[in-house]
């Protein structure tokens, strides 16, 4: 079966239910909305802090929503048994699952771009006086790069969903990973700092914020990250690919 066919199948499946539409709409609306709120409520004397990097502070909202969508895209298939219908139609399970990951990632990438560029553009429209012009490669990266982070993050999320196969379990696991583990592990004495520098989502975030200044307290990314911006992205992508590989290999072996 050709790749194009499988991509089309997964596209039909994704868009023939309502929840992806809601997730996509919510991801863009909330992300852009918060940026606009920040831009709109900022006091005139702080306007110098409203840089392209600052407009992206809310990318995490949409990014979590898209990860939840990615998890649901696979766990609902297990929940409703459509994964069996899928494997009956496409017995080469790896192909079907990778096609699903590709469609979800592509969509998340587009939503990430809409959220990132939308946040910046709306902020600029609200505050034309703020230093929001894109002057450097760094500025472009933080605004346009959001889509890439979304893409990779949804592959990670889909892999978690494929491993756990239950919506609630997978979403909980992912939220604990992203919101709790990556924030608490660095607090471990002595080794915490070393661990933090290799935590996937922290490193993925470093792709956007490496060398950036967000306001006075620049804590958007830990200091002294071992990898540069693009190295960070590559590492994040590698984690996603390995995780997907493990999840797909397991799905091939397990009874559907």
């Amino acid at each position: 079966m050709t790749t194009l066919t499988l991509l089309k199948v997964e596209r039909i499946k994704l868009f023939s239910t309502r929840s992806p539409w809601w997730c996509m709409g919510a991801a863009v609306f909330i992300t852009v909305g918060f940026s606009a709120l920040l831009a709109g409520t900022m006091q005139a004397k702080d306007l110098g802090d409203l840089t392209p990097a600052t407009t992206q502070f809310s990318y995490n909202f949409g990014f979590l929503i898209m990860m939840v969508m990615a998890i649901l895209a696979i766990t609902t298939e297990y929940r409703f048994g459509t994964i069996r219908a899928t494997f009956l139609a496409v017995p080469t399970r790896a192909d079907a699952l990778v096609a699903k990951a590709a469609v979800v990632a592509l969509l998340a990438g587009l939503i990430g771009e809409a959220a990132g560029v939308g946040s910046w553009a709306l902020s600029k429209a609200i505050r034309p006086d703020a230093p929001l012009s894109l002057d450097s490669a760094q500025d472009y990266r933080v605004v346009v790069g959001v889509g890439l982070v979304y893409m990779i993050a949804t592959v990670v999320a889909l892999s978690v969903g494929l491993l756990i196969r239950h919506s609630a379990g997978a979403i909980t696991a992912l939220l604990i990973w992203v919101m709790v583990a990556e924030n608490l592990l660095p607090a471990i004495p002595r080794v915490g700092d070393a661990i933090q520098k290799w935590l996937p989502f922290t490193v993925g975030n470093n792709f956007l914020y490496a060398g950036q200044h967000v306001g006075d307290n620049n804590d958007a990314t830990p200091a002294h990250m071992p990898l540069g911006a693009w190295g960070s992205l590559l590492y994040f992508a590698l984690v996603a690919v390995v995780l997907l590989g493990v999840a797909v290999a397991l799905a091939k072996r397990r009874d559907a």
């Binding site: 039909i12 499946k13 219908a85 139609a89 017995p91 009874d255």
Partner: protein, 346 residues
Amino acid sequence: MIEARGLSKRYGRTLAVNDLSFTVQAGRVTGFLGPNGAGKSTTMRMILGLDRPTAGDVRIDGKRYTDLREPLRHVGALLDAKWVHPNRSARAHLRWLAVSNKLPESRVDEVLALVGLNDVAGRRAGGYSLGMSQRLGIAGALLGDPGVLLFDEPVNGLDPEGILWIRQFMHRLADEGRTVFVSSHLLSEMALTAQDLVVIGRGRLIAQTSTSAFIEASSGSSVRVRGPELTRLREVITASGLQSDDAPEGADGPAALVVHGASTDAVGELAGRAGLILHELAAQRGSLEQAFIQMTGGDVEYRTGDGAPTVGAMAGGPGAVPGQPGEALTAGRAQEPAAARKADGR
């Protein structure tokens, strides 16, 4: 044609399917019969490559399911009518199935018409009744116009109209030369639907035979006879060396005699020669359920009654048919289930 050779499936300590070998012929409806928990669904899932056999293999027209290219063109299956996303319309569900096997999308409307769902095809499948879901499942199975069809308990929970529809539908499919393999735990249903039977109990093959031969072999023939002079009738029958029992007045009618091991011809001639008037002369079939229990004997997974399954019934070969058929019907405290695979929340 479907061929299973030494098919086995183990879940932990439970052997759900045990060295199962059978053949399903084309152009006939073959029933896959066994009590609940006998391993029917597991076997069907292994046929379709969803579950991986612990041992043995199964081939469809000589190929493993997972080796089929565009499998929906060869095999159609309805294992569970609820394998549809509840918020997806029937049409969208069939559309992605069609696209996945490069079937023309016009085929979607064809199969919808075939099962009579055109008018509701745009509605979300979650709102369908069981009968409608079942029809959608059959539409999905027929999408690729396959030569081999598998149905798992297709009439479960259907109303009489739906049952009749499915029964006739399967006959039509078989008449078109297709291989139709349909599972059920209801022998009476299978007797009406299937020409051949594959009977399993506790994952082991009990019989592979034609339906009529199965019923014939498993129920002894007896004759119910009644006349005004019952006492003389009994004397004549006993004198000819036949065994008979008194059937008291009851649901079957007035008091009569049941003659064992005789045909209606023999009993009729006997009465005629003695000059006796008969009011009733009828062949009596053992009920299908009785026959089934007699055949499957100890091979019921969840049994009731005080008698624990004997060691022989659990470990014996396919030939072991324990001789206490009534036991399985005796109400009493439930035996500890040997396995609870169905309950593990798949």
